[in-house]
């Protein structure tokens, strides 16, 4: 079993990174980033089999695509803290001439990024394509992807969901961040999506639920189970139930902090609730 305390420390430190990054430039998306901290830390440190050196092709390793690109702060924090680029570079988030663009992109050559995302609903198709190439290359590694729940309102997802099942793409694990919030409010109020689990199942996917998406052990267990379910002729979906803004009390259980940065005072409160563990960048 991995040392969950180490992972907890990484999560706490990543929360600090997220808050400091968005505070510095007074822009960015802390809410979803905070909610997905446990997922990213677990994925990159325990779940995925990754090569040391980044290559765009990602042959003979597991690869990951972030479809809801606006939660770039957690992506950048975890990429930096797993060695893809220097930690100090987090200082350049959303600044001019930076590789850490507001939404992730390959355009500036940031290691760890394989596709541009931000305009929603495109990442699942891309992940499916990469999974098909792995099959053609006889590469038995997996493709992981993350999607927002509000993002499922984009129709392209359902084209991709239909295609993946129809073609037996069973080397993909697509995780949906079910935090129930989007920019304009609760997903239930903005556009009720019904039972997402039943929808995926009706399309022919294996669906697993992680009820406690902000609990490291639950994420570890759930993702390990998801891995076991690959290779069975069906794509695998993980419904990850998280709390937007998790770890910063005043940011939790609301859509308010989807895309708003904390002010100085709010930053201080948020950092106090997440004491430094591995050292700030």
């Amino acid at each position: 079993m991995p040392d969950t305390q180490q992972l907890e420390d990484l999560v706490t430190q990543s929360r600090r990174d997220i808050l400091r990054m968005v505070h510095k430039v007074n822009s960015g998306h802390p809410g979803g980033s905070l909610g997905c901290a446990e997922f990213f830390v677990t994925l990159y440190n325990e779940i995925m089999e990754r090569n040391d050196e980044f290559s765009m092709d990602g042959n003979n390793e597991d690869i990951f695509f972030l479809s809801n690109g606006h939660i770039s702060p957690i992506f950048y924090s975890v990429l930096a803290r797993t060695g893809y680029f220097p930690l100090e570079e987090l200082n350049s988030f959303r600044l001019i001439n930076s590789r850490l663009q507001g939404h992730p992109t390959t355009h500036e050559g940031l290691p760890g990024i394989r596709i541009s995302s931000g305009s929603l609903g495109q990442g699942l198709s891309v992940a499916i394509g990469a999974a098909q190439t792995k099959k053609l290359n006889n590469d038995n590694h997996l493709v992981y992807s993350l999607h927002g729940d509000g993002e499922l309102q984009e129709g392209q997802n359902w084209e991709a969901i239909m295609y993946a099942a129809g073609n037996g793409i069973d080397n993909i694990i697509a995780t949906v961040d079910l935090n129930g919030q989007q920019i304009d409010g609760a997903t239930e109020d903005v556009l009720p999506m019904g039972n997402i689990k039943e929808k995926f199942e009706a399309f022919g996917w294996i669906v697993l639920e992680i009820e406690k998406g902000n609990d490291i052990e639950a994420v570890l267990k759930g993702m390990a189970e998801a891995k076991k379910r690959t290779g069975q002729g069906k794509p695998v979906c993980v419904l990850l139930k998280t709390v937007m803004g998790h770890g910063v009390d005043f940011m939790m259980h609301t859509h308010t902090w989807h895309g708003i940065a904390p002010n100085d005072e709010q930053l201080a409160i948020g950092l106090a609730q997440n004491p430094e563990t591995l050292g700030d960048y």
Binding site: D57, G58, S116, Q122, G129, Q132, D139, G155, Q156, A160
Partner: protein, 317 residues
């Protein structure tokens, strides 16, 4: 004046299909995706010969573009096939973000471009696709003129690293370029030498330009016809060299004059050598149902229009 022989009418889409068949044999990284138009795109041979490398996506073009972008990761060279309308306007943001901005090695192959799609009418006759695609940073835009050139272009773009939009059409048209030709991306081809007017044409209008040049010669006008198969990057030098001799230019394309080849040519001219120019193109309009020949006549996209435009532009020198 150099003359060209039509070796028999053939459709450019079959040139694409033949090129893809060839690539299937020579390049194992080439994969093909189609959105329920395998027959129309002439992708049947590739599908039959390499079923493991052919991906039927169904009627979901956005998904097809995304899958193609993803397939490049790991080294495949995806060729997507559907009509030009569904290859561009319908999936513009998917191309913009997942292909162009991400600089993925996807070849977007688009048939039934322009009015010559014919009877299906304006819903399917895109006249804006060149503009849409040339505006995307990093996108190469190619519009081939006949079967042989389309086949050669299809084979060549597999060797080129980066996103490409390859535009071709439905009807059987004159096949007059060499059977075994090298296709140089971005290199204009001077088809006739002339001194009075430059005619720069792309796609189906290249043959019409050659027909126009014959008529003009009978009227004592010497036309220099250039086949611009690559709209982006444009062969600035070929155009500027020619107008420095002729002093005027006609551009001809099966596309709206807004956003098309003509505008790209005009930009080069105003920056380097302001020159009178006439546009043979559609005039900010949608198409309609009809036979290809009827439509090309009604919308002024044939050799007669090129002759008229040439006479007009010469007067403006």
């Amino acid at each position: 004046m150099k003359t060209y022989t039509n070796t028999g009418n053939k459709d450019t889409r079959s040139g694409f299909g033949a090129g893809l068949t060839e690539l299937g044999k020579t390049n194992e990284n080439v994969v093909a995706l189609c959105a329920d138009l395998t027959g129309s795109l002439k992708m049947g041979d590739f599908k039959a010969n390499h079923p493991e490398r052919f991906f039927q996506v169904g009627v979901s073009e956005a998904n097809m573009i995304g899958i193609a972008a993803g397939m490049t990761i790991g080294g495949k060279i995806p060729f997507t096939g559907t009509f030009a309308n569904f290859s561009t306007g319908r999936v513009y943001d998917q191309i913009r973000q997942s292909v162009a901005y991400s600089n993925k090695n996807v070849k977007i192959c688009a048939s039934h471009a322009g009015l010559t799609l014919g009877e299906d009418g304006a819903t399917h006759q895109i006249l804006e696709d060149i503009g849409l695609m040339k505006m995307l940073p990093g996108m190469t835009v190619i519009n081939t003129c006949d079967y042989n050139q389309t086949k050669a272009a299809t084979i060549t773009i597999a060797e080129y690293e980066g996103p490409v939009y390859l535009r071709f059409g439905r009807p059987k048209v004159a096949n007059f370029t060499p059977e075994d030709q090298n296709f140089d991306i971005g290199k204009g081809l001077k088809l006739t030498d002339g001194t009075d007017v430059t005619i720069v044409a792309t796609g189906h209008l290249v043959w019409e330009a050659l027909e126009a040049a014959k008529v003009l010669l009978e009227k004592g006008i010497s036309a220099e016809v250039i086949n611009i198969h690559t709209i982006k990057p444009l062969d600035d030098k070929a155009i500027l060299d020619s107008v420095s001799k002729t002093g005027c230019i006609v551009t001809a394309e099966e596309h709206n004059y807004l956003g098309g080849l003509g505008e790209s040519v005009a930009r080069i001219l105003v920056q380097n050598n302001p020159t009178p120019q006439e546009f043979v193109a559609t005039n900010d309009t949608f198409g309609e149902s009809g036979t290809p020949a009827q439509l090309m006549e009604k919308y002024g996209l044939n050799s007669e229009s090129i002759v008229k435009a040439s006479e007009n532009v010469i007067k403006r020198k």
